[in-house]
């Protein structure tokens, strides 16, 4: 007998829009909502809905003998919630059959493992909570973004309690070893499931390729190929993007037809069955230890990190992004934190790839930018806006800590009518009850002593700006009161 383990990746990024250098500090909307909604709705119609329907039908028809696993990223879940909630419902229905397993990954489909272990763990926890909340499911198997994997990752994920982890099984990584067995990661007891890239790619990439000598791929033929693994392995791991069904291969290629007929064909042959990743991990022993010190992935022919981190722009952009980690997180500004995390989505770096630029290929898939340079420019401009937001938050915090207290004795404000001001309350009171002459002495077209005092001594630029705009003492007083209330709330 031989088992087949299906796992489908379900992900759509938050694409950023064309963000100009002239918007820095002025506009905090980074994402191309229109395009994102458009892509999501399109993919939902062409892929998610019909594919979910087909799989549910198969599970029912084969009395639970057909099983699959999904990994849904945070961005796809959020966007489905916003633009196609019925798709999310159909995923829930699938999970409820008990034949569908969910995997954990970083919520933001990020490369965080390579740049910040702390952020990585945090994002895995966010994902875990989301799976529990939405599907009442607690994953036991982990997959990292784009199947990026090395020994260190396996150890960390093992310590986090996962029993299994997925990785790419390309032959130049495995050598003579077969991807159809399970392995133990070096330095950890976690088990590895390796993608059978040959058979996976027959579906994912070659299915509709008319020049392929095996075209057309039938359920019967494919079942035979898998059946041939009998005796040479336990489990054939077919890992692919879910968009394979209906989007990479359109419906008219016969891909849904194939999906519908393959399971029965396969099950009809010598005790074969379908397993979920966690079942495979429980059932099959590890044949050997696998030592993968350098990061591998499932992308491009190189199967390394070069799709995201292959050029100077990509490395520069991601380094600058993670340099902001501490400042962003300590800001406690939820919108800022979420924006920063959305910028970690690996697709942003994928769009900056110059490696395949000449040929045009999968890097173009729903790429919102005409060129990797344009992708980089918008990303970096946005990062610079994030930096300004961080600075603003910090300045606010500075003001907050001594916001309503008195200024030092030697920094008091001496009003020309003899009053002395030590804090915002006194300033507000004085302004409320101030004659035009006195006010005009301090605030006129050449200067504004109040604004200068508030800015220089209190460090409250916001109030200073408001005072500069105030046309008279009453309006100025009002601005001070508004500011006091604002600071009190903090």
């Amino acid at each position: 007998m031989v088992s087949v383990c299906f796992y489908f990746q379900v992900h759509q990024p938050y694409r950023i829009r064309n963000y100009s250098v002239f918007e820095i500090g002025k506009n905090h909307n980074y994402f191309n909502d229109l395009k994102n909604a458009e892509v999501l709705k399109k993919v939902a119609e062409k892929c998610y809905k019909p594919a979910n329907k087909t799989i549910l039908k198969l599970i029912n028809k084969l009395n639970g003998k057909f099983k699959v696993a999904y990994s849904l990223t945070g961005p796809i879940i959020e966007q489905l919630e916003a633009y196609a909630p019925e798709v999310l419902d159909s995923f829930k229905e699938l999970v409820d059959t008990g034949c569908v397993e969910l995997l954990d990954e970083t919520y933001y489909h990020s490369l965080s493992f390579l740049y910040s272990k702390k952020e990585f763990q945090e994002q895995v926890m966010i994902h875990r909570r989301k799976m529990k909340e939405l599907f009442d499911f607690t994953p036991k198997v982990f997959r990292n973004t784009e199947l990026i994997y090395n020994n260190e990752l396996a150890s960390m994920v093992g310590e986090m309690g996962y029993k299994g982890i997925l990785a790419e099984g390309a032959s130049h990584i495995l050598g003579w070893k077969s991807p159809n067995y399970l392995y133990k990661a070096k330095g950890s007891s976690i088990k590895l499931l390796l993608k059978n890239y040959h058979l996976s790619d027959d579906i994912a990439f070659r299915f509709s390729e008319k020049s392929w000598r095996e075209y057309p791929l039938t359920a019967d033929k494919f079942s035979e190929w898998i059946n041939a693994v009998n005796g040479n392995g336990f489990v054939v791991n077919l890992f692919m993007d879910y968009e394979t069904f209906g989007e990479h291969h359109w419906e008219d290629t016969g891909i849904f037809n194939f999906l519908e007929h393959f399971p029965k064909e396969f099950l009809d042959r010598s005790y074969n069955d379908f397993v979920t990743p966690s079942e495979a991990v429980e059932r099959y022993r590890a044949m050997d230890e696998l030592d993968i010190p350098f990061a591998v992935s499932w992308a491009d022919i190189e199967r390394d990190l070069s799709a995201w981190l292959g050029n100077d722009m990509q490395r520069d952009a991601i380094k600058k992004l993670y340099e902001l980690e501490e400042d962003v997180l300590s800001s406690e500004d939820n919108k800022l934190i979420s924006d920063w995390r959305k910028l970690q989505i690996s697709d942003h770096f994928y769009y900056m790839c110059t490696k395949w630029f000449a040929d045009g290929d999968v890097h173009k898939y729903f790429n919102p930018f005409d060129s990797p340079y344009d992708a980089f420019i918008s990303f970096m401009n946005i990062l610079n806006d994030i930096k300004i937001r961080i600075k603003e938050v910090k300045e606010m915090a500075k003001v907050d800590s001594n916001s309503l207290a008195n200024v030092p004795e030697d920094k008091k404000f001496w009003v020309c009518d003899g009053r002395v001001l030590r804090n915002r309350f006194e300033l507000a009171a004085a302004l409320k009850n101030m004659n035009t002459g006195t006010y005009g002495y301090h605030a006129n077209k050449n200067k504004n002593d109040f604004a200068k005092w508030v800015n220089d001594i209190m460090g409250d630029k916001k109030l200073a700006d408001a005072l500069l705009k105030a046309k008279n003492s009453a309006l100025a007083a009002r601005e001070v009161e508004i500011r006091i209330n604002e600071l009190k709330k903090k």
Partner: protein, 390 residues
């Protein structure tokens, strides 16, 4: 082959393209007879240059060669010495055609190849005399030169008439091919696209200039005329300077918009930051490229845009307008619509400020440009000749 200008006596891309093409054709064994209004003493060793010995005025005749219809009267004013030069450019063209006709009658050749409207009538005449196939090479149309406003009907008529009579038309880009189809009513299958190219040889990469110790340099290089969009460059400069005031904007080239542009720079309050260098050639031209941290070609309508390839060969990051032919053949550069001044400024600032972007573009474009050579366009021309002869 009928040409109008040839290095070192050229004023722009036309002469450079003719040089590159004929040299590559020669290497491939094509015997080219290149007819010019006049030639300098220095002849290239690879080419049989034939001069029509039109009388020449000693001073900067290059201005005339690339004159736009708008400033023809200027030329008359500038060169009033009647009898020596001819009344105007049209008369020069007329003289060229008449002399070429006589020349064509006495020579033997297989194919006639004429570059741009000034030589089109000569090409047609030669075809009528010899019954040999005529290839017109369109480096620029009246529609590009005028931006579609106030086109010179006479020039347009010459172009259209010759295109009708030609056996094949070579356009330097799909962009130009489209223009020819749209504005000259020529069937698409009569037009072949042969993109220009560049031969990279011995590029001096020395970037040691005093100006670079203090400033970052943006470069506009080309005729200062409506077609090349120097005004958009200026508006972008104004925007860039709001963010990065250490950038200096060079305008290298001359043309009818030079004065208005200087005035515009003054009214924008940036005349101290925009440097007009005038028309450059040779070593000076080379220096301008090497001085630049970014090259900007904001053309309104650019049939090809050889300067972009030249800048790339000097390892300068390039920003080009999408309304250009060169846009079809280069990838490692930044592209914008010429009218989108904000986006142009955004890209100038970005390429200057983001070091990794600057480096990445230079690395990739330098290796991209190495794949260019005039051999490919020459080969395409030969195929066109062979098709016409069979």
């Amino acid at each position: 082959m009928f040409g109008w200008e040839f290095p070192p006596l050229n004023s722009g891309g036309l002469g450079t393209a003719c040089y590159g093409l004929t040299r590559a054709l020669n290497k491939k064994g094509v015997n080219v007879l290149f007819v010019l209004p006049r030639i300098l003493d220095k002849k290239p060793d690879f080419l049989n240059l034939v001069s029509l010995d039109l009388p020449v005025i000693g001073i900067n005749s290059s201005l005339i060669e690339y004159a736009t219809s708008k400033n023809y009267p200027d030329i008359l004013r500038k060169f009033p010495s009647k009898g020596i030069y001819g009344k105007n450019l049209f008369e020069e063209v007329y003289n060229y055609t008449e002399k070429a006709k006589k020349l064509a009658a006495g020579l033997s050749y297989d194919v006639i190849h004429a570059h741009d409207w000034m030589t089109f009538q000569a090409g047609v005449a030669a075809k009528e005399i010899s019954k040999k196939p005529l290839v017109l090479h369109v480096h620029s149309t009246e529609w590009d030169r005028t931006g579609g406003n106030n086109i010179n009907e006479y020039v347009y008529a010459i172009e259209k008439e010759a295109m009708k009579k030609a056996d094949c038309i070579i356009a330097v880009s799909n962009f130009t091919k489209k223009k020819i189809i749209e504005h000259y009513s020529i069937e698409a299958n009569k037009i072949q696209v042969v993109h220009n190219s560049i031969d990279i040889e011995g590029i001096n990469q020395n970037r040691n200039f005093d100006i670079k110790k203090h400033y970052r340099v943006a470069l506009f290089l080309g005729r200062v005329t409506l077609q090349k969009g120097p005004d958009y460059y200026l508006y972008a400069a104004k925007k860039v300077l709001e963010i990065a005031d250490d950038v200096r904007f060079i305008i290298a080239g001359s043309g009818d918009m030079e004065r208005p542009l200087m005035e515009k720079a003054a009214s924008l309050g940036i005349s101290d930051k925009v440097l007009f260098m005038g028309f450059l050639r040779g070593e000076e031209l080379d220096s301008a490229y090497r001085m630049a941290d970014v090259f900007v070609m904001p053309s309104v309508s650019e049939p090809f845009g050889l300067t972009a390839l030249e800048a790339m060969s000097h390892s300068v990051p390039v920003i080009i307008s999408k309304q250009s032919g060169v846009c079809e053949v280069v990838r490692h550069c930044l592209k914008t619509d010429f009218w989108d001044v904000n986006e142009l400024a955004n890209k100038i600032v970005s390429v200057l400020n983001y070091k990794s972007l600057h480096k990445c573009i230079i690395e990739n474009s330098t290796s991209e440009i190495k794949n260019f050579s005039w051999e490919e366009p020459a080969q395409k021309c030969i195929s066109i000749y062979n098709n016409l002869l069979n």
